[in-house]
């Protein structure tokens, strides 16, 4: 691998980069590219914000406060049968 990435090479690593699945040395290469390429930096930032936003929306599911207690009771009942 060369010591710098083209836009295409950086883009091919976009998803793994956002998901922290890239090897450390590849992460450094992507970061270096984003520092010198405003277009890719904007695209990566857009994808990151989109991912963060979707996650934030989905995290709003309210978990019943007594879920653990109810499940605990169900396990107790199962243990008694």
């Amino acid at each position: 691998m060369t010591d710098s990435l083209t836009c295409r090479q950086a883009f091919d690593r976009l998803e793994d980069f956002l998901d922290r699945e890239l090897a450390a040395e590849e992460t450094i290469l992507v970061r270096a590219h984003l520092e010198v390429c405003a277009q890719c930096a904007a695209e990566f930032h857009f994808e990151q914000r989109l991912l963060d936003g979707v996650r934030a929306r989905l995290a709003r599911i309210q978990v019943p406060a007594d879920l653990a207690e109810r499940i605990g009771r169900a396990l107790e009942q199962a243990g008694n049968t």
Partner: protein, 186 residues
Amino acid sequence: MKPLLDAAYRTAYRLSGNAGDAEDLVQEAALLAWRGYGSFEAGTNFRAWFFRILTNAFYSRYRRTRREGQAVELEEVPELYLWRQSSAAGLNDVLQDPATALLARLEGEEVNAAIAALPEEYRVVAALYFVDDLPYQEIADTLGVPIGTVRSRLHRARRQLQRALWETAVERGLVPARPAGEVRGD
């Protein structure tokens, strides 16, 4: 145990689509885990083991015709779909953070619906990924599939989700409609 059950509930909600079924699924998974605890290998990932039980419980309850190796192929969606649509609509020029602004215009239920509309193979991976932020390997361990399968399903699910979000925004008149041909697919 509570954080695990809460995470399991959120995932179960995404899988089943409603609160009642989500609680039933978590309860069923807890019972199965309790009864089958002897099969858990000490030193391995308990969370992945529990989530595997949860997803298997989901499959056995809701999937009538599960056939391994027959994943539904999703229609290919161009890369950076949302970015390009947003750019073509002029939003990227006037908004500092167009992705966040776009999501802010959508109702939470519309984001939920976009995930719920994914074919099951992709929805399960997306639920574990978006809701629980699990690493690929842990999703693979949970589902008992190769990591490459997780990567490719996520790749397609993301693009499908982007298109669904944009189409919802267009349908609701939140963003200007653009002819599909204006989005490059290169």
